[in-house]
Each structure stands twice: as C-alpha cells, then as structure tokens.
Amino acid sequence: MKTGKQRTLYVLKNLLLLIYAVFALFPLIWMILISFKSDTEVFTTTFLFHPTLANYREVLIRSDYGRYIRDSVVVSGGAVLVSIIVGVPAAYALARYNFPRKEDLAFQILSYKFAPEILVVLPLFMIYQKIGLYDSYLGLIWVYQLISLPLLIWVVRGYFEDISVEIEYAAQVDGYSWYQIFFKMLVPLIKPGLVSSALLAFIFAWNSFTFPLILSSNKVYPVTVAIMKYLGTDSAHYGQLAVASTVSALPAMIFALCIQKHLVRGLSFGAVKG
C-alpha cells in the first residue's frame, strides 16, 4: 500500500503531467472548435456557439481536398518506406561493422540535415526541370530522403548498438539463418527506435513546405501547400483553415496510434540484454 508520501508524490506527478497536457492540447482543442464555427462567430465566441458543418463541407467536399491528402500520403509514406528499406541495413552496418571511415560516413549522412532547404531548393529546381523530375512523385520522394533518412539511420543505429553482438553469434551457432536472425530477433529489439523515428520522419516529410512548393506544381500537390489556400483571398476563412489542418494531421495521428504497442521493446528468443 502506498504511504502518505508516496501518494502525494503520485498526485504531484499526475498534476504536473496534466498541466503540461493542458498546455499542449488546448490549442488543438481550440482549433477543432474553430473548425465548427462559421465566419461570423470565429472571433466573437469561445465555448458557446452554434456549431456548423459548413466549413467541413467547403473543404472536404467542394474543394479538391481528398486529392491533396492522397498526394501527401503517397509522397510522405513513400519517402519513409524508402528510408526504412535503405536505412535500416545501413544503420546495422554502421553499428556492427568496424570499417575505415565509418564515423565519417555516418557524419556525412547526418550532414544532409545541415543544409537548410532554402539553400538547395533553387538549384534543385533547375536540376529537376532538366532531368524531368519536376512535379513528380519520385522527385519529391527522393528529395524527402534528406529529411527522413538521417534521422532514421542515426536513431536506429543507436538501438542496434544497444544489442549485444553475442546474441547474434549465439543464434548463428544455433543454426539460424541471417534472415531469421535479422527479422525475428533484431527487428523486434529495435522496434521502439524504428517506429518512433519512422513516425517522426513521416511527420516531418508530411509537414515539409518549401520542397513541394518549389519542386512541384499541379500534378503533385501535397496538402501543406494547399492548406494556405483556405486562408482565403479577400477574407481569411479561419474556420476552413482549421478544418484543413485538423484533417491533414489525421494520417499522422492514425500512424501514431498504430505504433503505440510497438514502442515497447519486444522480447524474443528469450534474449534479454546483458
């Protein structure tokens, strides 16, 4: 049973968490509230108002919104997928093998994050136009690697490094193939790192604005660029903007919900560290 001191500590912890939660979540709630307000009520009411679905209708049905979401899903999802396929083995190699210039290579990959987008976007624009990648899914997926790959590799490398090499040797000795070792044993152990960095990479790719603005035009139109159009032209439709942003955040929210159970490291083969 909890002592008095333990109980106050417990209450304190919950309180602190709650305070932060209010800070973090209130603007989101407020934004959702606005999405249900008509233009006349956006500024003059707070919690009591006449809810309307007009904004939702305007954004989701009347405009091309579904298509923007689709483009974003294809480009961001595709980018993260490529990063995982290419990055996880790379992370493994950087964790396990000891080869010359290893740290330099790792740093090199990291260095792609040093270059602000605005530095490279203009030359990229010209290059893309020349090689025909302008306004294409492939073009954006490729460029998004700069956003997702370094994060994925570095986080996952850390998780690989935490796994003692002896486990692999032991499994090898036991006769398991590299395929089995990798997928059945290693991957569950790096799951928290993999899914958290994949989610983050997805979010960053999704929210990327400069690249899609400059490097694509009307064939590929991710939702981050399109959201700005709901600000309207003669008068700002904040309610519509709220709808567009809320719905735009949904895929990432769904992704986050799905990975929750994977955030806890899996145990397999009875392999526990140490």
Partner: protein, 310 residues
Amino acid sequence: MAAKKKSNEKSDLNKVPFSTRVRPYMIVAPSLIITIGIMVPFAMAIWYSLTNYSFKLPNHKFIGIQNWVNMLGDASFWGAVKISVLYGTISTVIEMLLGLGVAILLNNLNNGLSKVLRVLLVFPLMIAPVTATIVWQLMLNSSVGIVEKLLNIFGVYNFPWAAAPGTAMMTVILIDVWINTAFIILLVLAGLQSLPKSPFESAKIDGGSAWFNFINLTLPMLKPSLYIALLFRFMAALQEYAIIFALTKGGPGDSLMSLSLTAYQKGFKFQKFGAAIPYILVLWLIINIAAKRIVNRQRAAQKQAAGLEE
C-alpha cells in the same frame, strides 16, 4: 570487454576476405547514393554565391567574393547570427528539459492518464508549423484572442506578444516549444521503454533512492538517445524560419531576422539569390561545428552506456 572485442576485430580485418570487407560499404551504399545527389545543388549554390545571380538581371556574372565581403560588412549579419544562435539554443534547451521531464513522468506513471497522453502529447508536432503559428497568433491576439481573455482575468491587458521587439523572441520560442517538445518526448520515451530491466533489478537489491538510480543508472543509459534527440532538434532549431516568417516576417524591426530569414528575404523576396547564399552557408557552418561536438559526445556516451549494459 567491448573494447577488447573491437581491437580483435580490427586486427582481424586484414585477414578478412575482400567481399566481407566490402560488405559494410555495400550495405551503406544505397543510403549514400540516394543522398549524395544533394552535393550537386550544394556546389551550385556555392557557385551562385560567387556571382551576382539575381532573378531581376537577365544574366549573371562572376564577381568573386564580393557577396561574402558585403555580408561581413553588413551590420545586420552579426545580429542575424546572434538571433539564430539564441533562438536555437534557448528553444532546444527548454524542449530538452521539458521533454525529458514529461517523458519520465509518462514512463513512470502507468495509469490511464499516462497511457492516453503518450499518444496525445505527440499531436502538436503533427500540425504544420505555419498553421500552428497562425492558430497561436489568433489565440494571442489582443483583440480577439482567447489567451488575451484569460490574461484579462489576471489583470494583464494588451500583452504585446509578437508585436514588440522585447517580447517577440519569447513568443516565437513559445510556439516552437509547443510544437517540438513532442519530438523529444517521443524519442526519450522510446529510449526509456527499451532500457534493460536487469540493471534496475540489481539496483533494487542493492537499495538506493530513486533519485540515485536516476542519476547513476537511467541517465547514463539514456544519454545516447538524449544526445540524438538534442542533435536533431538543435540542428532544426537553428534553421527554423517558417514560424518566424508566419508570425512577423522577421519583425518588429530586425528583432527576429535570423540567418535563415535574412537569406530567405534576400533570396526569395528581393530575388538576389547570389547575395543570399553566404548567409545560409554561414548557418551551415555553425550547424556543422555544433553537430560535430554533439556527435562526439554521443559516441562517447554510447560506449559508456554499452559498458554499463554488459
């Protein structure tokens, strides 16, 4: 034990057949190939910085380091460096501390509240920075904002937030913290939840307070993850411009003109692209130096943590 292993591997390297030696490079190759393409635009950008490339002129010509000289002589350049570093550092530090604290609380408490919040607290990151800034701007607005109404209850009226030079920086940092603490929380939480149980079990047998365990067990094992989070967050914070641009476009006056924003304004608004590049390259350099330092510490922490876990 780990050190001995490594030296064994090194000496074995010479006896290892070529195909095995080449294997790591082969595995890393795709990542490199995919991203090496960025070197070309990077080199192009450097080239442009040596010309008077501007959208307004039909042609551009080589002018050597004139753009660089102009930048160093520009009074606002040093201000921009200061603003970039200040913004990057303060927001990252706040986010690290806050994120670490919240992640620990989430990990520590195992009740319904924490389980729900584990998912919900990542949501602020999912809102595009520009939209988040607009939402905050509306909330902080002195005419129609809800935060203003809240402050009125406490007798505070017309707090300037982003409209006055003295409070503009703290406003953008506030928004940055709101969005990005989630990043730290997620990474640290993942790290916390994958810490091995055995060291803690041994510690329990040995006795010792929770705080002692935290400092001497949790923290060192967590450090590699912490450094990674710090690294990526700091790099991004130094480059941040979307929030500042959406909020005040760099104003009031020059109070928020960071290096990114200055380069953006010069390059995309004033269309003097050649003159804008040096500013970003300086930013690139700052990030490079900072990253190197943090990476070195991360590698050291990684080794230390591996030792602890053996």
